[in-house]
Amino acid sequence: MAVSSSSATSTVMNNVEAVRATLYEAMKTDDRTVILGEDVGARGNVFLITKDFINEFGPERVIDTPIAEASIVGIAVGMAMEGLRPVAEIQFADFIYPAFNQIVGEAAKTRYRSNGEYTCPLVIRTPYGGGVRGALSHSVSIEALFYHVPGLKIVAPAFPADVKGLLNASIDDPDPVLFLEHKKTYRLIKGEVPDGHYTIPLGKANILKEGTQLSVVSYGLYVHWALEAAQKLQEEGLSVEVIDLRSIRPMDKGTILRSVEKTRKLLIVHEDNKFGGIGAEISAMVAEEALFHLDAPIRRLAAPDVPAMGYALPLEEEYMSSPGEMAEAMRELVKF
């Protein structure tokens, strides 16, 4: 953690409060920062993240847009090209598809196609993920659709302190960042957040729990469940290391490889679909770089190959992994 204004004090927040506090500070300290999206103004965002911002910063900086995701991102790209530091919000990650070209074809390629003459310092924030009875269009994970794209950075923090440090780093970043906030963690997860301004560099994973028999790599909500499962196994005398990726692009190869070389076994856990998911890239990287350190096949615990989780509780539960399933997968792999 790079703490610029040193402060020994901290405040307990949940993830929503951490996003809100960080955005507030960014708006306070840099008048190039503007927020735009659906219902971010008078309503203060559907999760109340920007509540009252419009009163303090005015409608010119807290812009309620029409319901038009492609141009929310496209207009933010133009603002960024012309010197502002926009934070665009897509109300739910499920609604980001109309903006796909603006993110992949435009924001991610602005610097490249102009040979560095134009840049696109833009943050796109969006709540994602399930476990909230969100059905087909309020529950998806979108990271795998975007992590294939050079020019983009993708962040998916799990803890309030990481939300703050990584959101600060994303806002400071000279390139476009897709900032993914797991909506089930919004109010569920609380933690100490250091006061004062600090950043956490993009591309640095965090070892949440050290262990010797298995490395578990995850991000987002599943980090918390994997940690819960690993602690359960600890009581059974099994030692599992849990790594929170925090950033998906760039990704922290060093931390993953060092862990796998120590534990000799790897389990990747994510909420997104297994086929073509983040776990596939991690598996390939480990197979290329550390195959002979492995004592067991790499294992992935991820969503089945269906379009989405259903609204009915059994359909949601079947789609998602549970801490119990994670614990079982860990046990099997440790004992392999």
Partner: protein, 341 residues
Amino acid sequence: MAKTDVKTGTLERRGLSDDQLRALLRNMLLQRQLDNRGFQLNRQGKVPFALGSEGHEALQAGAAMAFSRGKDLLAPYYRDLGLCLGIGLSPYEILLSIFARAADHNGGRQFPNHYSSKAAGLMSFSSILAAHIPHAVGAAYALQYRGEKGRAVLATCGDGTTSEGEWHESMNFAAIHKLPFVMLVENNEWAISTPLDKQMAQPEIWKRAAGYGIPGRRFNGFDPIETYAAVKEAMDRARSGGGPSLIEGTCYRYLAHSTDDNDMTYRTKEEVLEHRKHDPVPRFESILVEYGVMTAQDVEAMRKDVLRETNEATDKAESMPYPEPKDLYTHVYEGAWEPWQ
């Protein structure tokens, strides 16, 4: 075409000086010469692709004359050679793009005609139609947000682009915020092979302005003076806080869409020849001669000068080096990059 003032018998020149009228013609002649050069180089096997703006010369020369260099921003599309020349790009810069040389603004990365130059206020754009319109609107928002009076963003597109959702979204947003923004549609009647009547039931694009609650008008894009006046009126309104406009210039695409297209598969030679009768370039030449702005000899000398400049730019650009293989890896992000940290 430019009309005479009945009372005085003089050219209705809309405040343009003789020098400006000559500059309009020179831009038009240069466009035609450079278009021709791109196609020649393609036929010679020297470049893989070319795309022309023939038929848009008057519209683009006139529109560029209404652009305020050093202040306004231009968000063009790929058939805007004359606009880009008119706001300050040189034939050499155009040829660097055609030859994909390292010294090109885009480092030889983009297709020809996808010009960008931060110094000229020319915003970078892709080939994806209408994707640049929200960028123009976002830039206009930035100008307004910073209180930069006297500046505006001119965005252009063809008739085809007006079918895209982002075109509508951008017009709507610009209108809501009364942004310093002008949407100039260059209606050449063809979206590659698709004629207007298959693009829209109501073919007068400017009339959509009423739906956004902003001013709209249509003008003859074969007339550079009328174009200048229409674009200037809209840009002046935008620069002075009067909000956005939707203006439509009518023109025609004389060439196939690109060197990879055969337009005889979807339109007839007769149709093209009929439109050629109204070709804006010889028409404007004869108007300037008729009204004594230039002599026929002056026009001929200008034509020769344009050819000389094009030849020199061609030779100079062709002699420049390609980007090197290592240049593939730069400017992905700021600084050196590796997805695995």
